[in-house]
């Protein structure tokens, strides 16, 4: 327990001080942290899923509060919660099935359960995630409250029935924890391989002699372009520098070292160049449930330019960037306002910021927002690790990854605590 506590604090600190850059790294670390939280959680005899959910929520809430702007944290927390609920659901349904089948004899029951859940839990969990069940949102909405209630009834019944139950309870609890950890490992695997999965699709989208425009720097975009290059596609890349952090410079450098024909332009030249561009490919900070994109500042302008010239605007996003919230959600409205020193030199302008003279308030304000919002109608295609999707399809993907109960988890838990 102290170990996780220290880990949590350490991670909280890093989040608070904005020391982790990039949503992939954040997502991965969050998932790893939650995995250790789960493995350290002591399982009670009854209602184990609720205990797990509680401990994950308790940590998750703090993580989200530490850096509300980094939506990937919340996404991963919700995904883990969803995993817990799902594993629990599959276990209980399996157990119920087992109980129903062999209600007469306890001895048989034991042997039965040892084989049975091992099969079913994995199978059901995998099935629930891989097959896109058409009414998925609805089934989740209906099932989840039940699942929380089911262990209660079964356990109370079990206690009255006899002591033999407790033995298989503990085996089941170990089972649940084990399955959840397995699933979280899978999630971590997903997050770390999302670049490759997305990049694999590159050849389908980038064609010979095309001109691709991108803004700023995104690792996903870099891998995507390089994958196309490796498949012997020859194309050119326009990189808008991405003021004020100028990460486009780094991207251009990287692309050139990989042998790609690169042209660096200023952000303001995007509109002038867009007519020569075949496709815009950019990364995202987060993808909202309505298909809108939270992206590095300047991208809305690029998207508008692309729309004007009917150039496809493609957004690359790993599944950890899918956020179950809508852009009108107050948390999403948060923008990270970074230091004005990225825009101008304090020393040179210090005389403009002298509050001692004049009206006592600064005449010069410098605002340096980090993110832009690109509405869904400007996005042509999302490429995630599961393939290409329309903006209007995002809510369906989200319904598969998240449980409806967890959408508003912070607010409810804070008011509850």
């Amino acid at each position: 327990m102290p170990d996780t506590q220290a880990l949590v604090n350490d991670f909280l600190n890093k989040l608070k001080k904005r020391k982790i850059e990039g949503s992939q790294a954040t997502a991965k670390q969050t998932a790893e942290l939650l995995r250790s939280v789960i493995s350290q959680t002591r399982m009670p005899y009854t209602n184990q899923a609720a205990a797990l959910i509680h401990s994950v929520k308790a940590v998750g809430e703090r993580l989200i509060a530490a850096n509300p702007v980094e939506l990937a944290v919340g996404n991963v927390v919700r995904r883990v919660l969803h995993i817990v609920r799902e594993e629990d659901l599959s276990l209980t349904t399996a157990a119920m099935a087992g109980l129903n089948l062999s209600a007469e004899s306890d001895d048989e029951d034991d042997t039965d359960r040892d084989n049975h859940p091992a099969l079913s839990a994995a199978a059901i969990a995998a099935a629930s995630r891989s097959t896109l069940r058409p009414p998925s949102l609805q089934t989740l909405l209906e099932d989840v409250p039940d699942s929380a209630a089911v262990p209660h009834t079964s356990s109370s019944g079990g206690d009255s029935e006899g002591k033999s139950k407790s033995a298989d309870k503990s085996s089941r609890s170990r089972k649940l924890k084990h399955d959840v950890i397995e699933a979280v490992n899978e999630l971590i695997q997903d997050i770390s391989t999302c670049h490759e999965l997305i990049a694999e699709q590159a050849v389908e989208h980038i064609h010979q002699n095309e001109v691709i425009l991108t803004l700023g720097s995104s690792r996903t975009v870099l891998e995507f372009l390089c994958a196309a290059k490796e498949k012997k596609r020859s194309f050119r890349v326009f990189v808008a520098e991405g003021a004020p952090r100028y990460q486009g410079h780094l991207l251009a450098k990287e692309l050139v070292t990989r042998g790609l024909q690169t042209t660096l332009i200023t952000d303001s030249a995007v509109f002038a160049m867009i007519s020569r561009v075949n496709m815009v490919i950019v990364g995202a900070h987060a993808v909202m449930a309505n298909g809108g994109v939270i992206a590095p500042v300047g991208l809305n302008m690029v998207a508008l330019a692309a729309q004007k010239h009917a150039v496809p605007f493609v957004v690359l996003a790993g599944s950890h960037k899918l956020c179950p919230l809508y852009p009108h959600h107050p948390e999403v409205l948060l923008n990270e306002l970074r230091s004005p020193s990225e825009l101008l030199d304090f020393g040179e302008f210090s005389d403009c910021l002298d509050f001692g003279s004049g009206i006592g308030a600064p005449l010069l304000h410098v605002v340096n927002p980090t993110f832009d919002y690109v509405p869904p109608k400007l996005v042509s295609l999302f490429i995630t690790d599961t393939g290409g999707h329309n903006p209007s399809y995002m809510y369906r993907l989200i319904a598969d990854y998240y449980s409806a109960d967890d959408l508003v988890l912070e607010r409810r838990t804070t008011s509850g605590n």
Partner: protein
């Protein structure tokens, strides 16, 4: 809790390893050793005052933590209990890899004392960051530290790296945007060595003087006036021992930095590190409180901005108004608030007007009260109905401490350090009796004392206040400046003539300056000696002790023993004049008494003839200027001194010889004592005769 304890023990067990690899340490002075934030600091330490809703010390600690410092020693002096309590209850006490240790002292009155105490504790084992608890920064220490270490390897004398930042001072007011005086620094552009540091330049002079060896020793020197001292220093261990060796170092800059810069024996060097994109500034006065608050709101200090530092309390960045109302404040209707800082639990009733004021916790403004610009209302003050608090006044429940001796004061009044809180609590209970007493000062129903601004300071008040500088002041300063410039352009000599410099023959500015400086020094030295002497007289101090004390003064003012003799004699004569007397003969008797009692003291500083001549010259000067009553008695006193063997006849004769060639006006006293000298000469001849 269990987790915390475990963490603590783990840290302890790691300690030996950490010592081996020298974790980065920092000394945080949680006391500014000044009185600029009075009266607020009488009740709460400066580091705990809210800066954009978060206690200042949090900014400093958060920065230290993120800059990779692992161990912080917080030095608390004034209100140490409040600081320690705060730190213990805050998140800082339970951070992994970041330990905050408090060091408490009740009798330190300066940064120098603090560092000496820390040296005694022997807790610093390597390079450390020296910072005060009111500094806000977001700079990265890595580069500065690396530079410091590299320099240390090459040159063991490079003991300190000072962080500076470009910030242009206002050309009109000659102060920086932080309200501090314009700072002049000479820096070697190649090595970044600091060569000259002057934060108290006298603008009336219109120039500053540099030692010419500075230019001789360095191939290039850049003199900056647009650098701001961030008061973040990376120091080597030697700094602490230097403070211990030089027990008279008090102030970090005025004594320590300047002391090192002029001291060429030890050869210690100070270097600078300039930061460009990051932010660093220290809250020194109310003006910088205002400026830095606004910088934080504008997010120059990112990521150390309120919405990041305390994620839970839901401070969101929205379009900023000119004011920000804190928690649990009640504000009535028709209230005008402009550019003011309003802390917690403030009640502002209908129709109040506030302009550029700081209103502390628990203040009540009754309806219609008006605060003019620059007003400071300390904790729990009540301003009566329709009362107008005049501009720049400071109001507190505590009475102004009566003795305001020097600028080297503490944040608290003498012994109230521990009991500060108690006193305010007591005042709470006693508000009713207080009310009647002070009703007049703050209108009907008002509670609190308006502090009087002591003379001279009022003119300067606008410089350091939260309120913007009034336009009329700016206009006036601008006009003054124009005039100065006209003078300068008209005739270079006008200025020097108007300031009564001795000569403008050689026109060497620095030399004149030196003379003037030493003269100033001498005057203050003379005053000190006089005070010492008077004390010796009134308290019957033994002669030996008095000699010792005067000697100590001589050393600290860097004077020759010649000056001591003159100064002591001057004090003796002054005492004689000042003691009651009716006639010349009585005065003579007075003088004789004093000289007899204290001849030993005087004698011990008169080792050779030159010094004795100095005494005669001094006496002459006195007779002409300060104590004309002695003019008539000149020969008698001279005789007296001769009798008491304070002056040898050689000295008197030499003086006489020297004076022979002087102007008529200078010879007045020579003539008066002609007889005596004549007698001396004859006596000498007789002696010579006898010898033969």
């Amino acid at each position: 809790m269990g987790a915390q304890k475990k963490g603590a023990t783990a840290r302890v067990s790691e300690d030996p390893e950490e010592l081996a690899r020298h974790p980065l340490q920092a000394i945080l002075l949680a006391d500014s050793f000044t009185t600029k934030f009075r009266p607020i600091t009488l009740e709460r330490p400066k580091v705990l005052l809210p800066l954009v809703n978060i206690p200042m010390i949090n900014y400093t600690l958060a920065w230290l933590e993120s800059a990779g410092v692992e161990e912080v020693f917080v030095f608390c002096c004034a209100h140490s209990k409040q600081v320690i309590d705060y730190l213990e209850s805050s998140e800082w006490s339970s951070q992994p890899n970041f330990s905050v240790t408090t060091i408490e002292s009740h009798n330190s009155i300066s940064a120098g004392d603090a560092l000496r105490l820390i040296y005694e504790r022997n807790v610093i084992h390597g390079d450390f960051v020296l910072i005060s608890g009111d500094t806000v920064s977001n700079m990265s220490l890595t580069q500065a530290l690396q530079e410091h270490k590299d320099r240390r390897k090459k040159d063991a004398n490079a003991i300190m790296t000072m962080v500076v930042k470009q910030s242009k001072p206002s050309p009109i007011t000659q102060q920086s945007r932080l309200g501090t005086d314009e700072l002049f620094m000479a820096i070697n552009p190649v090595t970044k060595q600091l060569l000259y540091y002057e934060d108290k330049a006298e603008y009336s002079k219109g120039f500053i003087s540099l030692d010419k060896t500075l230019i001789a020793d360095n191939p290039s020197v850049i003199l900056h006036n647009d650098k701001q001292d961030c008061y973040i220093d990376i120091c080597s261990q030697e700094v602490l021992s230097l403070f211990t060796d030089n027990f008279d170092y008090q102030h970090l800059r005025r004594h320590f930095v300047k002391g090192l810069l002029v001291d060429d024996i030890m050869g210690y060097k100070i270097f600078t590190h300039e930061i460009h994109s990051s932010y660093a500034a220290r809250i020194d006065n109310f003006r910088s409180y205002d400026t830095i608050s606004k910088d934080i709101i504008q997010r120059w200090t990112y990521p150390f901005v309120p919405d990041v530092l305390c994620g839970s309390s839901a401070i969101k960045v929205e379009r900023q108004g000119t004011y920000r109302a804190s928690e649990r404040c009640t504000i009535g209707s028709n209230v005008t608030i402009e550019g003011s800082y309003i802390w917690n639990n403030v009640t502002i009733e209908d129709g109040c007007q506030l302009r550029n004021a700081i209103v502390c916790d628990g203040v009540i403004l009754k309806s219609g009260a008006v605060l003019q610009p620059g007003v400071i209302l300390s904790f729990k003050v009540v301003v009566g109905q329709q009362f107008v608090v005049p501009a720049y006044s400071k109001v507190s429940l505590l009475q102004q401490p009566t003795q305001q001796d020097s600028d080297e004061e503490l944040e608290y009044a003498d012994s109230t350090s521990g009991t500060g809180e108690l006193r305010s609590d007591k005042l709470n209970g006693d508000i009713a009796p207080d009310l009647s007493e002070t009703a007049s000062e703050l209108g009907t129903g008002g509670v609190g004392y308006i502090w009087t601004v002591f003379e001279g300071a009022y003119d300067e008040e606008w410089r350091h206040s939260v309120a913007p500088i009034p336009t009329d002041k700016l206009v006036k300063l601008m006009l003054d400046k124009d005039e100065d410039e006209e003078l300068l352009t008209q005739d270079g000599n006008v200025i020097s003539a108007s300031r009564e410099l001795k000569t403008d023959s050689d026109g060497n500015g620095s030399e004149d300056d030196d003379n003037e400086d030493s003269r100033d020094d001498y005057v203050s030295f003379e005053k000190e000696v006089e005070a010492t002497f008077l004390r010796a007289v009134h308290e019957n101090v033994k002669v030996d002790l008095a000699v010792l004390e005067v000697n100590a003064l001589r050393l600290s003012y860097n004077m020759a023993s010649v000056d001591c003799g003159g100064a002591i004699f001057y004090s003796m004569m002054k005492l004689a004049v000042e003691s009651p007397h009716n006639s010349a003969s009585e005065l003579h008797r007075n003088a004789a008494d004093i000289v007899t009692t204290w001849q030993k003291l005087l004698k011990s500083f008169l080792h050779d003839i030159d010094e004795e001549i100095e005494v005669i010259l001094k006496f002459e000067e006195m007779c002409l200027e300060s104590a004309k009553e002695f003019a008539a008695l000149f020969p008698q006193i001279l005789h007296l001194l001769y009798d008491k063997e304070i002056l040898q006849e050689d000295a008197i004769l030499r003086w006489a010889d020297e004076k022979e060639g002087a102007d008529e006006s200078d010879k007045v006293f020579l003539k008066r004592s002609e007889k005596f000298i004549q007698w001396l000469r004859e006596a000498e001849e007789e002696e010579d005769d006898e010898d033969e």
